[in-house]
């Protein structure tokens, strides 16, 4: 089992925007269907290694990307 940071969004538009900006900044991210236990407005979420959470949040803040919430996601 590994722990990831999971970011949820208000709409698909913001999930794609976040993916593009983070990838451009060299962060290894993946878009996934939102796991059922997390409720979200938009059906796709972004995951990234937990240790990259802080740097990712900085990039997101600097680029004014709207996010809904962040979680720790323990993945099998």
């Amino acid at each position: 089992m590994k722990s990831f940071c999971l970011i949820t969004f208000y709409a698909t538009h913001y999930a794609i925007k976040a993916e593009m900006i983070l990838k451009k900044n060299g962060i290894d991210v993946e878009l996934v269907p939102v796991p059922r236990k997390f409720s979200s407005n938009c059906g796709i979420a972004l995951t990234l290694p937990l240790e990259k959470e802080n740097i990712a949040m900085d990039i997101i803040k600097n680029n004014k990307v709207q996010i809904e919430k962040t979680y720790q996601w323990d993945r099998d």
């Binding site: 709409a11 538009h13 999930a15 794609i16 925007k17 269907p33 407005n41 938009c42 059906g43 796709i44």
Partner: protein
């Protein structure tokens, strides 16, 4: 295939850049999914194409946040979103006497059904008007000013920046119908003082029919035209407020968006100023040649600098429909005749109810096509025998 000269680009542009056909083919064959509805790779790939097109359109029109680019089926749809979502009983809307029915019809409908008040600023017969006239007409109940950037009948460019400035100074929203100018005349929502920009994808932007959009500078209190599934907030049965989803219910014309993205990219690569320069040269040639033919009456400014590549004319003693028919059947030249969905414009230029013959050129037309067409018109005039 018989030789075709396509002079009806104001109706829809043809042909399109190869990259547009390729992008649409690629989307249908290789991607195909519904963007953002599902969490799988193909859906995400489709969502990326939509996002990239939004970004490209935002860049083209100077929209700061691409979530403010709402996709619609065409410019008429975009205009209706604004009129139906924004206007309340008693609101005043100011427009001009050279607008298309996509502006006049919904406004008259709202005048009849909910009681909005319409003020029409008269244009001169060449389509020009003074921006100051708007200032005189703004009143306390004025909610919106809506104008077309260029006339689809005579091509006259209207002074949107100055009118936008006046709107801004009086706290009135400014909506520009850029159906005829997007992709040909540079537009910047901030510099041109535009609050709402309606555009279509299948004319100057070189995309397919069935796609257009509305750019919103700052979120306004405007209800969506439709409610439905948006792929977001799915737990709730209430339309979300977040952009762009608020105004995009149901599956988008994703293949159209793919095509539009390729069209906008083509324009950026060629550079909009080069496209405008070339079209202006074609228009100059057309105006010059037509004005030397006895029996042809031209309308509008007849000045390629002050209009887009649209020229309307008539021939003494012939009906526009007859001219159009001959041009098509005998010479393979495609032109639009009649009232061009703009009866008020024809009333302004003095050609109501017969209308005109309209030639509208694109980046893909050639100078030699104009030479050929001029000869064709001379033959048509020569062959006409008064009854």
């Amino acid at each position: 295939m018989k030789k075709i000269i396509y002079f009806d680009n104001a109706a829809t542009s043809w042909h399109k850049p190869d990259s547009v056909y390729n992008a649409m083919n690629y989307f249908m064959r290789k991607v195909g999914a519904n963007p953002g509805r599902s969490g799988h790779s193909k859906s995400i790939e489709a969502a990326r194409i939509v996002y990239e097109t939004r970004q490209a359109v935002a860049k083209l029109f100077g929209v700061k946040d691409s979530s403010h680019v709402v996709f619609t089926s065409n410019a008429t749809h975009a205009l209706n979103i604004v009129f139906k979502g924004l206007l309340q009983p008693g609101d005043n809307v100011i427009t001009t006497s050279i607008e298309h029915n996509s502006v006049m019809r919904p406004l008259h409908y709202l005048e009849k059904t909910i009681g909005i008040r319409i003020t029409v600023i008269p244009c001169r017969a060449d389509g020009t008007l003074l921006p100051e006239l708007f200032e005189e007409k703004i009143e306390r109940d004025t909610k919106l000013i809506v104008i077309n950037h260029a006339s689809n009948v005579i091509g006259t460019l209207l002074p949107i920046r100055e009118i936008g400035k006046i709107s801004r100074e009086h706290g009135v929203l400014f909506l520009v119908d850029a159906a005829q100018t997007a992709g040909v005349i540079p537009l910047d929502m901030a510099k041109d003082n535009i609050d709402l920009l309606a555009f279509t994808g299948h004319k100057g932007l070189m995309g397919p029919q069935g796609i257009g959009g509305l750019c919103i500078r700052n979120p306004v209190d405007m209800a969506p035209l439709m409610q439905g599934g948006t792929g977001s907030n799915s737990e709730y049965e209430i339309q979300p407020e977040v952009l762009p989803d608020k105004y995009e219910s149901g599956t988008l014309n994703t293949v159209g968006i793919a095509g539009l993205g390729a069209g906008v990219k083509f324009i950026q690569e060629k550079c909009i100023l080069n496209i405008r320069k070339y079209e202006k040269a074609l228009t100059e040639q057309l105006i010059k040649e037509l004005s030397t033919i006895a029996g042809i009456k031209l309308y509008g400014l007849c000045n390629a600098e002050k209009q887009i590549s649209i020229v309307s004319f008539n021939i003494d003693g012939l009906k526009p429909s007859d001219i159009g028919y001959k041009l098509d059947k005998e010479f393979g030249i495609m032109a639009r005749v009649g009232l061009h969905c703009a009866p008020i414009a024809h009333k302004t230029i003095g050609t109501f109810p017969e209308g005109t013959v309209r030639f509208s050129l694109s980046y893909f037309n050639k100078h030699k096509e104009i030479d050929y067409t001029v000869q064709a018109l001379k033959k048509i005039i020569k062959s006409y025998k008064p009854r």
